[in-house]
């Protein structure tokens, strides 16, 4: 008995140590990044005393601010458009039994999820060049919409699949036309899925480097691509400052969405 208790105590210790190591592995680099963003030194890993120097420098950096604005515009527009189109695609695939080309569409819709970003980027670049479009913020937005539709469709479709199709039939049986059945019954029930999909789209858009760097035009750089370029030229704690701001923004976004989802699911129950 005592031996067994002893072993399980040891196992507990090993497990909690393992947990600590994993957490350290995940969060120490982030902690260091945030820490050094407040350093007065010009070196990335030498502490030079507390300072907001790099934050000030960041807000004086015109091209950097432009890239932030670009990122926000691209993310918002591509999220809104891809959420609407992705949701519509999910409904078409999940709710309508037969239509011409459904299977092909179904298979092709998920292509952007599985093909490598580089392939997708080159594809889009070639397409824009072929039809003679000048690369600009618009081409970035269109590209982001193109890959985001798939992700939104997948998330919304999962939610729709869990919904009893009889709900919409019941609404129509109770004198609702198709639109009102959707508006009053289906939409509120899949709203958490749509919100989740939109959030995913937003994150993917804000994150993307590979595709964006291929289809961007002069002066239309987004933040991640700009930061990437910064590292290649000179490495200063300014990058830490930028990263910290992005980190805070992501955390706010994630917690906001979690709160929204929880409130939604409460109201469903």
């Amino acid at each position: 008995m005592s031996r067994r208790a002893g072993t399980s105590k040891n196992a507990d210790r090993v497990l909690s140590l393992h947990g600590l190591v994993v957490f350290a592995f995940l969060y120490v680099p982030i902690g260091l990044l945030v820490f050094f963003s407040f350093s007065d030194s010009a070196s990335l890993n030498v502490w030079g005393g507390w300072s907001l120097r790099w934050y000030r420098r960041m807000f004086d950096n015109g091209p950097l601010l432009t890239s932030i604005r670009n990122s926000v515009v691209v993310a918002l527009v591509s999220t809104v458009v891809s959420t609407v189109l992705g949701t519509a695609a999910a409904i078409a695939l999940e709710r309508y039994r037969r239509w011409l080309g459904k299977r092909t569409f179904d298979a092709l819709l998920y292509l952007p999820v599985i093909i490598p970003d580089v392939t997708m980027g080159v594809m889009l670049l070639m397409w824009f060049t072929t039809i003679g479009w000048r690369l600009s913020l618009t081409t970035i937005i269109l590209s982001h919409i193109a890959f985001n539709i798939s992700f939104v469709a997948i998330v919304v479709r999962a939610r729709l699949a869990g919904l009893d199709p009889a709900l919409e039939e019941a609404a129509m049986d109770l004198y609702a036309d198709r639109w009102r059945a959707f508006r009053r019954v289906t939409l509120p029930l899949i709203a958490p899925g749509i919100a989740g999909g939109a959030l995913l789209a937003l994150t993917l858009s804000l994150d993307d480097v590979v595709i964006t760097s291929l289809v961007q035009g002069p002066g239309s750089t987004t933040l991640p691509v700009f930061v990437f370029g910064l590292i290649k030229r000179q490495v200063t704690p300014e990058i830490n400052a930028v990263s910290t701001v992005m980190l805070v923004a992501s955390i706010v976004l994630v917690f906001g969405s979690l709160a929204f989802q929880r409130r939604k699911s409460d109201s469903v129950q």
């Binding site: 019941a170 129509m172 109770l174 004198y175 609702a176 009102r180 129950q269």
Partner: protein
Amino acid sequence: MSVGLHQVTKRFGDVVAVDRIDLEIADGEFFSLLGPSGCGKTTTLRMIAGLEFPTEGSITIFGEEVALVPPNHRPVNTVFQSYALFPHMTVAENVAFGLEMRKVPREEVRRRVADAIDLVRLTGMADRKPDQLSGGQQQRVALARALVNRPKVLLLDEPLGALDLKLRQAMQIELKDIQREVGITFVYVTHDQEEALTMSDRICVMNEGRVLQVGTPEEIYERPTSRFVADFIGETNFLDAVVTGPGRVRIGDTEVRVATDAAAGTRLTVMLRPEKLQIHAPDEPVAEDRNRLEGRIRHRLYYGDALEYEVELPSGEVLDVRMENVPSHRRWGPGEEVAVSFRHDAADALTE
């Protein structure tokens, strides 16, 4: 006539779900569609609801042709098998849905919703969400949500299927009471023959997309017109027989009297319900109006309220005999030679 179906066919691709059926359902009738799964009963109901459109044929509701009318323009409401209650709405909001869609004035909606909730005895539960209710309560909400619209016909798709036995029996009585109270036509889909027998004014037995027999529960049980109906409803014995003369058939080596007008020499099946048979000692005389067959007891099964005997006839065919467990009945044991008797009119001769 409240609902009429004329030569209605529904095909899904190559599959014929409903095959040229004709039905006439009277006003105020409790009408059941009964059959095994896949027999087309639910598809038939969905076509009356407007959730499916027939491939061919005509459907009328109170004389009006509705075959291709969408569900929101039909004077019928449905209680779904899964209840399909809107999970994000309260009981009251669920019940009010249909009235709101038809833009009934708010004050009237409030009053009618309250009445409907009272009718199904859910008073005080108006503000609950569906997942805070038991299965039986959800079932009542589904019923109230349909009835509040005062449909001319109420369609019910296996509404008691998800409930446990006790609750199901209680709800059978309650449904029947509610139907009497509101006085409208109920079209009721079920695969449970007992449910159909106890609740219906008339039953339509379906199989493989076709209507096999329409009649009162008694007609369906006592005088099935086909072997399938006889077999599907209740327990039945089937014996092969040959017609020997007017109202006479031969079973094995024994001639018995059975109501049939088939010509001599016709092969047919005699149907006998186990509870209409009686067991006697071999030398015991049998009343004038009864037929007699000889056999031997093979098994005895004890059911508590009844005993069931398997009696083997000389031909090797086996008859199930069900006898009430009352003290006056003698019990028979395996191996005993016995006689089995039944009234002339207890047997049904099936030519199909």
